[in-house]
Assembly symmetry: C2
DNA sequence: CGGCATCCGTACGGATACTG
DNA sequence: CAGTATCCGTACGGATGCCG
């Protein structure tokens, strides 16, 4: 992609409220629990090996983990480094772009943990009313 | 729920990295494009009627809209007010709890719109490499 | 160790029709 | 207007097995 092509794209105003807009699709991929957990883990712990991510995020199948990491790598949010040891060692790290997003999703994760009680109370009241 | 029961819950440390933790489940529901778009719309535009939300979020089926709004209402993030006119008019508004979250998800939506070009460039490069 | 390929059930979500 | 109910296809994601 040339700089001229990029400047053309910069002119576009993206709006996730529009169904056909590419930013809607991007928001969609970012709105995944696995994305949120992976970005949070990499932000909180720095560079991590594949197995360390798997251990951090309990219950994530390696299919979802790999799929999520590939998508994040493709979108330029995470870098993947392979060290040709035996057996091979793979390390993932946030890119500057990914770093600028990870703070936001980490705050959402932190909100969920901090306000869990309020939500549980609200649910109990709602279920009582109905 | 009594105040004593609530105090018991307050003691719990929630951790979304744990598969069985309720906060993981909450993060999961928050990690939905529809939740992000609805909370963003209500934050940006204030109280909205059902049809206004539907118009704002293009391409959202009324099934998903209703389902999302019910879930948000149950979790205490959104309040629902029915005015008994003919035909009936229903208004949705962020609760203080919902307001405290909506800023975070709106920032994620804004990030997606602002960094769409960077992501598209990264994707093009990735697809070239592979 | 860090994957990829395949199979397969379920549940997410769209389309349609009907109601207070 | 603001829903509810039902049907139904698809695609998300888990389980398993194999590989460099």
């Amino acid at each position: 992609m040339t700089a001229a092509q990029r400047r053309e794209l910069e002119k576009i105003q993206f709006d996730a409220y529009l169904a056909e807009c590419k930013s809607r699709e991007l928001l969609e991929t970012l709105s995944s629990k696995w994305v949120a957990l992976v970005l949070s883990a990499l932000r909180e712990k720095g560079a991590l090996r594949y197995s360390e991510i798997a251990r951090t995020i309990a219950g994530a199948s390696q299919k979802m983990l790999t799929q999520t990491l590939r998508a994040l790598e493709r979108d330029g949010l995470v870098s993947r480094e392979v060290e040709p040891t035996v057996p091979v060692s793979v390390t993932y790290e946030l890119t500057p772009l990914g770093d600028s997003l990870s703070g936001l999703v980490l705050s959402v994760k932190a909100w969920a943990e901090a306000n869990m009680v309020d939500v549980m109370v609200a649910r109990a009241e709602y279920d009582d009313r109905t």
